[in-house]
Each structure stands twice: as structure tokens, then as C-alpha cells.
């Protein structure tokens, strides 16, 4: 392995070095500074005689005398089942003081795309115990469902609640062995120490740590490193899922910081920027992360992704949530208004969506009436929401009896269905039963999205009449 002392330009996170042998694209580089530190980086561009290197730890301390070594391979993640229970930094080095990791194999972190022909369509319901998700935006194994949040909102609590409560119905009845096949891979990118502590404390409190692998790039860690962290996490997740048969839930937070790092590198390379200065290839880049969720035919395990992103200015047309929404299979919105009303979790179901829901629910999967109930509640809540603006202008008295019922429904939907608290774990049965209680406040004729047979068997008659009486 040749060592060079040929750095001729240092700019932001990038180092340019002259070389006299061909260097591969994406190859790993070690840079040794004069004071003996070793920094790692990756080849971003390889020209004959000149390579651009992106340094993960940042370029401070590097001067033109530093020596550069090309390792002749792309970045690999050492993987083994023993990673479960371990905590690593953003570049995959253990920071928990535990024993050295003896890898079973070393996997390229730029994962190859799954052949669409080899995929298995996800349709196994995951019960999260959160009504807003289970009832209205069902999560299934192998799905990628991001949480769209914003600064100051409790997205972490929601993610933790899901990680804690997520189970598959078959698992509940099964023995412990089944349950142990569940694993969490947590990839933190640029979150604060406090946020990281919140996650770690919760993992420790609930004993989840022993079935978790944590990669933590914190707010004061180098930004460029953030482009590697999710890939390490996903490589580990794929190994656990497709080699070791685990059902892996990958939590990535915060994707906004990841995109900021991409933009930083793009700017340093003087690339032509796309929208709002983010690189034009951000869609492709994000897709290479999000698309690493899924199931593969003939393999037991699955990778389910729950990325969290904070929308700058609560704006979902910002490139980060926008591109994410185009790649992922739906999204869960955490809502500022609901949060200030004290609703826990403050999930706004109206813009939220789970694209894989329709195939994961219904008879034999969840409950026969699930789809119809969800649809009807959506429509009713949307109608109630709509009327609220009107009430502000004309007052409740000016509205018809029908309109008032919808207003009541929207109110009850938020306080009884959505607001369950971060510690409550509701079964799907409970969720749907609460749904029927609320729907029964509406007259039967209004339930036009529900099959008549289901109305006959689930509509709560007495309560319906009681409410009708008070509304008069």
C-alpha cells in the first residue's frame, strides 16, 4: 500500500491529493496528520492523477504534509450477531467499552439494490399499540414509514413508543423464542447528547438494549460522518434480517441532519445545486437508504424503517420531507396544534398515510371491518375538521344537526381515539372498538363507506340514540 504526501488542496470537508496510480471511486482513505491522528475518508471523485477525498472526521488539523493511504477497498461494515447490545459511534467504532467486535463477515456499506423480482410484498401487520397508526395508518413488516415532525415536537417519544410496543399478532401468542427475533437498529445522525440519552435511557429501562444496535453520531460529531452512519446501520440491519432471520426495526433520526451533510459536501465540491441548495442527486441518494427496507422471498427476516425527520419551518414542501415522501411508503405527521392541546401522541391522521395498509389489513390479517372503519373515520374526521373553520365564523347554533354531529365526532376522535398517552399499549381490537363507539355517534345512514353487514354487527345502538337525544 502506497503512502502519499501529496495533498495540494484542502477545502471544507474535502482534501485533494495527487496520485500516480489509479484509485477507485468510493475507495476508503486513511489520512495521518503530523500529530499522529488517523482520519478516515472516502474517494468522491477519481481523476487521472488527482482524487477528491471526503474526510469523515472533518479536515481540521490536516496540512499539506499529512500522509494519505488508499486502502484499496470501499467502506465495509464488520457484521456479526454479537453487535446486538452494542453502542457504536457514527463510523462504527464501539464506544461502550465492550469487547472488540469479531466480525463474521464484512459487508460493503453501499448496499446493492434488491432485485424487485426477488422481493416479497410486505403484508404482515405490525401492531404498534398506537391507535393513530394501527387503526388509521397501519405499519407492516418491510415498510418504510417516516415520521414527519418539526422542532419542539415529541417525535422521539412516538418512535420510542413504537420501538417498545411493536409486535406482530402471532408473536403475542408464541413463546419467547419468537419474540427474541425482533431487533432494533438505531442510527442517530447529529442529534444532541440529551436526545441520545433519552433514547439510551429508554432502551436500558425497558431492556430493549440487548436486542438493539446503536450507531450514534451526535450533534458535535463531524457532519460528513453522517453520510456514513445510516449506511452502517442499514448494512447491519440487512445482515441481521436476511442472514440471521431477525425482524429488524431501523430508526433513523434525524434525516434532516443527514441531508444537511449532503448539502455541505455538495457545496464544498462546487456542484450545481438543486432546490434550496440541496444536491440534484438527493432523491437518488435518499432512495439508496430508504429502499433498503423490505422483505426477500425465501428469507425469514425483514427490514422495517422508521426514519424521523424534522421539517424546517413545519413545511412539508421543503425538499427533505418532499423527496422523502416520494420514496417512502407513506408518512406519519406529528402535529403542532394537537401537541399544544396536549394530545399524546399528537399524530394528525389526515395528511398521514400508510401505502401498504390496504394489503396488510382485513379479514384474516387484522379484522374484517378494519379498512371500512378507517375509511369512514377519515372521512368523518375530515368533515368535522372542515366545519371547525365555519364554526369560528357563524357559531355552532347556525349549523345543522348533522354538522354538529360531525363536530362532536372530530372532538371525540382527538380526545378518545388519538390521545392515548405515550405509555398506553392498545390492542387492535381495542382500537377498532373505540372507533365503533365514536362512529356510532353518527346516524347509520351516514356510514356510507362501511359494508352494511359490518354496521349490523358492530354499530353500538344505544349509545347512538343517547347522543342523538342530547344533540337535539
Amino acid at each position: 500500500m502506497k503512502e502519499y504526501q501529496t495533498i495540494n488542496e484542502i477545502s471544507g470537508p474535502l482534501v485533494y491529493a495527487e496520485v500516480d496510480e489509479p484509485i477507485g471511486y468510493d475507495e476508503i482513505v486513511e489520512i495521518e496528520t503530523e500529530d499522529g491522528r488517523t482520519l478516515r475518508g472516502q474517494v468522491l471523485e477519481s481523476n487521472d492523477g488527482l482524487v477528491a477525498i471526503q474526510v469523515f472526521e472533518g479536515t481540521s488539523g490536516i496540512d499539506r504534509e499529512a500522509s494519505v493511504r488508499f486502502l484499496g477497498e470501499t467502506l465495509k461494515m464488520p457484521v456479526t450477531e454479537d453487535l446486538l447490545g452494542r453502542v457504536m459511534d457514527g463510523t462504527g467504532q464501539p464506544i461502550d467499552g465492550g469487547p472488540e467486535i469479531v466480525p463474521e463477515s464484512r459487508e460493503d456499506i453501499i448496499g446493492a439494490a434488491i432485485n424487485p423480482y426477488s422481493r416479497e410484498y410486505p403484508e404482515e401487520f405490525i401492531q404498534t399499540g398506537v391507535s393513530a397508526i394501527d387503526g388509521m395508518n397501519t405499519l407492516v413488516r418491510g415498510q418504510k414509514l417516516p415520521i414527519f415532525s418539526a422542532s419542539g415536537l415529541p417525535h422521539n417519544d412516538l418512535a420510542l413508543q413504537i420501538a417498545r410496543q411493536a409486535s406482530v399478532p402471532e408473536e403475542e401468542e408464541g413463546d419467547d423464542e419468537e419474540a427474541s427475533e425482533f431487533a432494533v437498529v438505531f442510527g442517530a445522525m447529529g442529534i444532541t447528547q440529551e436526545e441520545a440519552n433519552e433514547f439510551m435511557d429508554d432502551f436500558e429501562r425497558t431492556g430493549a438494549l440487548e436486542r438493539s444496535v446503536v450507531f450514534a453520531n451526535l450533534a458535535d460529531d463531524p457532519a460528513v460522518e453522517r453520510t456514513v452512519t445510516p449506511r452502517l446501520a442499514l448494512t447491519t440491519a440487512e445482515y441481521l434480517a436476511f442472514e440471521k432471520d431477525y425482524h429488524v426495526l431501523v430508526i433513523l433520526t434525524d434525516m434532516t441532519n443527514y441531508c444537511e451533510a449532503l448539502r455541505e459536501i455538495g457545496a464544498a465540491r462546487e456542484e450545481v445545486p438543486g432546490r434550496r441548495g440541496y444536491p440534484g442527486y438527493m432523491y437518488t441518494d435518499l432512495a439508496t437508504l430508504y429502499e433498503r427496507a423490505g422483505r426477500i422471498q425465501g428469507r425469514e427476516g425483514s427490514v422495517t424503517q422508521l426514519p424521523i425527520l424534522t421539517m424546517p419551518g413545519d413545511d412539508d414542501t421543503h425538499p427533505i420531507p418532499d423527496l422523502t415522501g416520494y420514496i417512502t411508503e407513506g408518512q406519519i405527521y406529528v402535529d403542532r396544534d394537537l401537541n399544544s392541546q396536549g394530545v399524546q401522541p399528537p399524530v394528525n391522521v389526515l395528511p398521514s398515510l400508510s401505502r401498504l395498509m390496504d394489503d396488510g389489513i382485513g379479514e384474516g390479517l387484522t379484522r374484517e371491518d378494519h379498512g371500512d372503519v378507517a375509511n369512514q373515520m377519515y372521512a368523518a374526521y375530515a368533515e368535522g375538521e372542515n366545519l371547525r373553520d365555519l364554526v369560528n365564523i357563524v357559531g355552532r347554533e347556525a349549523l345543522s344537526e348533522r354538522d354538529n354531529k360531525y363536530l362532536d365526532f372530530a372532538e371525540a376522535f382527538e380526545t378518545e381515539f388519538i390521545d392515548q398517552g405515550f405509555e398506553t399499549n392498545r390492542s387492535l381490537e381495542d382500537t377498532l372498538d373505540i372507533g365503533w363507539e365514536l362512529l356510532s355517534q353518527l346516524p347509520k345512514a351516514e356510514l356510507n363507506r362501511i359494508d352494511e353487514d359490518f354496521i349490523d354487527s358492530y354499530y353500538v345502538e344505544d349509545e347512538g340514540e343517547a347522543v342523538e337525544a342530547t344533540a337535539d
Binding site: 496510480e21 489509479p22 484509485i23 477507485g24 471511486y25 475507495e27 471523485e45 477519481s46 481523476n47 487521472d48 470501499t74 453501499i110 448496499g111 446493492a112 439494490a113 434488491i114 432485485n115 424487485p116 423480482y117 426477488s118 422481493r119 410484498y121 436476511f242 456542484e271 450545481v272 438543486g274 432546490r275 440534484g280 442527486y281 432523491y283 437518488t284 432512495a287 430508504y290 429502499e291 423490505g294 428469507r299 412539508d316 414542501t317 418532499d322 415522501g325 420514496i327 411508503e329 389526515l350 398515510l353 401505502r355 401498504l356 390496504d358 394489503d359 375509511n375 375530515a382 365555519l390 365564523i393 357563524v394 347556525a398 349549523l399 345543522s400 354538522d403 345512514a445 356510507n448 363507506r449
Partner: protein, 585 residues
């Protein structure tokens, strides 16, 4: 992808690598030649030549590829293999069959440097000639047929670049695609296998005005915004508004002979859904499995970006080939925005001067070239065939003023605007009836009037007028509430509500409602019209509007969609509504 011949290959050396863009020195190549890059032989295409330096876009991941490695030129432009075996197949963006790749790579993950022909070269097909020795044939003429799938008879044609001549010998029986089945006195030999460069439209005699609708079984489309066979349509919408479901619905139910579905830079799981669903679904026309008329191209978002750029062309070339046989082909491209973004990405790596929002200046030209390949054609062999193109557009932030949507709208004649507000209210398909349009309406009306009902356009206009009036009234309602409106306007709102709920909404996941024949589309409208006419008569007779909007029978209108025996149901419902209303005065 076609296996280019390598006899006159020339070799160059890699100069630089930056993502999917590679430059090579000393490569003797023409623009758009296919080259094999690096020691692994990754497939690429020449996109720029500057002096001694050739720029190549590579269709595979370039990690680890470095300067000094060889580049080999095939001397052939990017081409697809055309022949029997393209239906019931699933390809990546350069026409490599994904099932063959899985076998060859022995992995569920896509490896690099593996190539495979687009059609099975070893499989034998039963060839039945339709010409005789002594017949005169020219380019494009059909010389025989092959039963490609249970649904489709594949027509073997003289390739468009042949001179043609008198048939001197004919074979009949089982052959592989590369064996000669017909010989001509010009010395030319016809096989079942053709190659065609993807960026070049296949020739036809003339493009004609389309007059037949592509019936989709979707009420809002057939009823209000129809597309012609040979027409173009765009479906723009923000994420979550139902682009993909609409595309899937069209792929499933449109009355085309052949469907080419291009998944361009979209989700892997969605393609898997198509692969799993289509073989089990029935073709509404023939009752055969849907896959027997479908060719799938899946270049998901995490597959190489250059192959995403080419997948659109691969798809349209396959579509044109079946058009040449005289078939009506529908091509769905989901999504053309990802294709445009792939162009942008490559363009920015080339450091080209960007146009609007970083897209290359040639974006509009490329889009119109693509959509112009659609149409209702008279083919060189005298048959007529059509290619209808339906492109999904994914505007960033749902903002239709962005370049891809705007440039697309300048070309296409049908615009189905998806609306996030409707989707949020679970109004599906969430096609906004105020913003959408179809410029084919007038030229298709005669067909509907001949084949469905005489008053097709009349009753449609009535529905549009009611919906327009509702949109205006809603603005007032938002300010003062519904009860402040005069009675007749309150009644109009109620009629419009049934139009929205019973007619425009359609449940894609309900086994019956998912496909609505034009007759049923029409009957639903007549039921609502009956309510409208009778209720207004009752209003005139002094019945208060509160009674007219709370009938027992009318909610049944919203259930017509899910009825299998809809004719009887609608008849009874109309009687019930009439009876109930007339009983009030």
C-alpha cells in the same frame, strides 16, 4: 438489453470517475454508442465527445472503478431485443430480465457486470407462416405468427431496415428466435428477433387523429376526462395523492391489447405488488391472466440513475414494436419526474449550464420527443395500431408550476390533476374535476354516443354544470353556512354531493367497484339526474328542502358502484326515489 456484436470493438482507458459519469481517453466512439466500462465490464453509453475525451453514463454502480481500467466500445447504439417473450416479462431499465439476473447472480441483490439478452435466445417458439413462396414482402410486413401468450398472437415482421423482396423459402414449426424462418430473394433472412435503437422512433406511414377512447373503467376518467387510444395524458400530483394507484388501475383495466408498465425511479415494493398481483388478476377483455398482455420495466429509485434515464425509451420502443403488429398499446410511465431528475443528475455531473431549477435546457425537447412517439398510426404494413402514453408527474411540493409539469402540460392533451386535499378526505381517485381537462372529449363523443348511449355528452355536461355550480356555492357556504342559501341552491349542493360520492369516487380495492364499464358510469349519472329532476319538481310544488335532502332511498346512490347487477338496482332505485318524492306532494 441487446447483446451488441463486439468484433469491431475499440478500447480506451478510464480517465476519471464521478458517480455514474465516467470519462475515457482514446476511445473511438460515436455518440450514444454502448460501451463496456472497467474490468468488470459495466454497461454504459457515450453521451459527450470532446477531443480525445469521451464521456460515458454508466448503467451500473461505479464504486471501486478507477482510472486506468479499460473501456470497450461495441460500436452499436443502445438497443432493445424485440421478439416473442417480452410479454409476461420484467426488465430493468436496459431490458435485462430481472428473473434471469436473479438466477445468474444467485442473489436477491443486484450485482454488477452481468448482462442478459432481453428475450430468451434458446427458447423455441411455434412459427406459423402467413406468406407463401413467391409473395412480395417489404419492410414491416407480417410474414408469420407465434402464439406468444394465451392472449397475444405475436406477429413476426420484416425488420424496418430491410429492403424486402420475393419470398424464396419458408419454414414452419418450432424455432429459436435467431433461426431463419423466411428467406427473401434480396438475400435477407427474417428471424423472430429484431434489434432497434431505443432513442429512435420506429417508422410508420402516418399519424392519424384518434377517435376511439381508451376505456379505463374509471368513472371520472371515462365519464369526464377520457383519453383516446393513441392519446397522451399526464397525472401530476403530490406524494400520497394516488398517482401510482391510478396508474395501476389503468394498467389493470384499460381496454388496450398490450400494456407496457414502466416503473421509473419508484418504489421497489410497488413493483413487487405488480409482479405478485398481475398474474392472478383477470384481463377484463379476455379473462386470461393480466400478465399475458403486460410487459414490466422496473428501474426502482435505488437502481442506477443512468438506467432510469433509459428505461422510458426501452418501454416506448417495446410499445412501438407491438403497435407495428396492429395492436393498441398503453404505456404507463411512473414517474416521468424521476426520469427528468435522472437527466438533471447526469447533466449536472457533466457540468452543463443548467436551465430552470437545475434541469438541463433540453428538458422540454426530450419530453416532447418522448410524448410524440405516442399516437394512432397507420403502420408500414397497412395495419393500424396505437400507443397511448400516460405519464405520472411528481412535482416537488405538489407545485404544478415546476418545469417538468409545465413542459409536460404543453404537450399532453389530457390532464388528470391529483389533489392532496381530496386524498386527505379520502376522496379517491383524488382527481380534481375543476382543474383536470381532456382535449379528446369532442372527438371521442361520437364513439360513446354510438356504443353506449345517445345522450352521453348531454348528461355529462349536466354533471359538469352541477359540479361547477357547487364549487361556486361552496365559497359562499364557507362564509355564511349552508342554511343561509336559498332552497334551490341547497338542493343543488345535495345533488353535487351525490355526484361526488356516488359517481366521482370509486373504490379501487372493491372487487366490483374497481372496474366500472361505461354503461354503468352512465347509469349512475341517470340515477342522480332522476333525483335532481324529481326533487326540483317537488321543491316547486312546495316541499321544504329539509325533506328533500333526507330521503330514505337516495343514500343507495352511493352503493350503485359496488353492485354487480347494477342495471336492475338502478332501475329499482330510480323508481324508489321517484315514488318517495312524488309521495311528498
Amino acid at each position: 438489453m441487446s447483446q451488441a456484436t463486439q468484433q469491431d470493438a475499440t478500447t480506451g482507458v478510464i480517465e476519471s470517475v464521478s458517480g455514474p459519469v465516467v470519462t475515457a481517453r482514446d476511445l473511438d466512439a460515436r455518440m450514444n454508442d454502448v460501451v463496456y466500462v472497467g474490468s468488470e465490464g459495466l454497461m454504459g453509453e457515450v453521451i459527450e465527445i470532446e477531443g480525445n475525451i469521451t464521456t460515458i453514463q454508466v448503467y451500473e454502480e461505479t464504486s471501486g472503478v478507477g482510472p486506468g481500467e479499460p473501456v470497450e466500445n461495441t460500436g452499436e447504439p443502445l438497443s432493445v431485443d424485440l421478439g416473442p417473450g417480452m410479454l409476461d416479462a420484467i426488465y430493468d431499465g436496459t431490458q435485462r430480465p430481472l428473473d434471469v439476473l436473479e438466477d445468474k447472480m444467485d442473489s436477491a441483490f443486484l450485482d454488477r457486470g452481468v448482462d442478459a439478452p432481453g428475450i430468451d435466445l434458446d427458447k423455441e417458439w411455434g412459427f406459423e407462416p402467413t406468406v407463401e413462396v413467391g409473395d412480395e414482402v417489404s419492410a414491416g410486413d407480417v410474414v408469420g405468427t407465434v402464439e406468444e401468450t394465451v392472449t397475444i398472437e405475436h406477429k413476426v415482421m420484416v425488420p424496418p431496415d430491410y429492403e424486402g423482396g420475393e419470398v424464396t423459402a419458408i419454414e414452419s414449426g418450432e424455432f429459436t428466435v435467431d433461426e431463419t424462418v423466411v428467406e427473401l430473394d434480396s438475400g435477407e433472412e427474417v428471424t423472430m428477433h429484431q434489434e432497434w435503437p431505443v432513442r429512435q422512433p420506429r417508422p410508420a406511414v402516418e399519424k392519424k387523429t384518434p377517435t376511439k377512447p381508451l376505456v379505463s373503467g374509471q368513472r371520472v376518467l371515462d365519464g369526464l376526462f377520457p383519453i383516446a387510444k393513441g392519446g397522451t395524458a399526464a397525472i401530476p400530483g403530490p406524494f400520497g395523492s394516488g398517482k401510482t394507484v391510478t396508474q395501476h388501475q389503468l394498467a389493470k383495466w384499460a381496454d388496450a391489447d398490450i400494456v407496457v408498465y414502466v416503473g421509473c425511479g419508484e418504489r421497489g415494493n410497488e413493483m413487487t405488488e405488480v409482479i405478485e398481483d398481475f398474474p392472478e388478476l383477470e384481463d377484463p377483455k379476455t379473462g386470461n391472466p393480466l400478465m399475458a398482455r403486460t410487459s414490466l420495466i422496473a428501474n426502482t429509485s435505488n437502481m442506477p440513475v443512468a438506467a432510469r434515464e433509459s428505461c422510458i425509451y426501452t418501454g416506448i420502443t417495446i410499445a412501438e414494436y407491438y403497435r407495428d403488429m396492429g395492436y393498441d398499446v398503453a404505456l404507463m410511465a411512473d414517474s416521468t419526474s424521476r426520469w427528468a431528475e435522472a437527466m438533471r443528475e447526469i447533466s449536472s455531473r457533466l457540468e452543463e449550464m443548467p436551465g430552470e431549477e437545475g434541469y438541463p435546457a433540453y428538458l422540454a425537447a426530450r419530453l416532447s420527443q418522448f410524448y410524440e412517439r405516442a399516437g394512432f398510426f397507420e403502420n408500414t404494413n397497412g395495419t393500424t395500431g396505437s400507443v397511448s402514453v400516460i405519464g405520472a408527474v411528481s412535482p416537488p411540493g405538489g407545485d404544478f408550476s415546476e418545469p417538468v409539469t409545465q413542459n409536460t402540460l404543453r404537450i399532453v392533451k389530457t390532464f388528470w390533476a391529483l389533489d392532496a386535499d381530496l386524498a386527505e378526505r379520502r376522496h379517491f381517485p383524488s382527481i380534481n374535476w375543476n382543474e383536470s381537462y381532456s382535449l379528446y372529449r369532442d372527438q371521442l363523443d361520437p364513439w360513446f354516443e354510438d356504443n353506449v348511449t345517445e345522450d352521453w355528452s348531454e348528461i355529462r355536461q349536466w354533471a359538469i354544470d352541477v359540479l361547477d355550480e357547487e364549487a361556486e356555492l361552496q365559497e359562499i357556504v364557507q362564509l355564511v353556512g349552508k342554511d343561509a342559501l336559498p332552497e334551490d341552491q341547497q338542493l343543488t349542493l345535495e345533488v353535487a354531493r351525490y355526484l361526488r360520492e356516488g359517481y366521482l369516487q370509486q373504490n379501487a380495492f372493491h372487487p366490483t367497484d374497481t372496474f366500472c364499464p361505461p354503461e354503468k358510469t352512465y347509469l349512475i349519472l341517470t340515477a342522480i339526474k332522476t333525483y335532481n329532476d324529481e326533487a326540483f319538481d317537488a321543491l316547486d310544488a312546495g316541499v321544504p328542502v329539509e325533506d328533500l335532502v333526507s330521503l330514505e332511498s337516495t343514500p343507495q346512490i352511493n352503493r350503485i358502484g359496488v353492485q354487480e347487477d347494477y342495471e336492475e338496482y338502478v332501475e329499482e332505485l330510480k323508481e324508489d326515489i321517484t315514488e318517495e318524492l312524488r309521495g311528498m306532494y
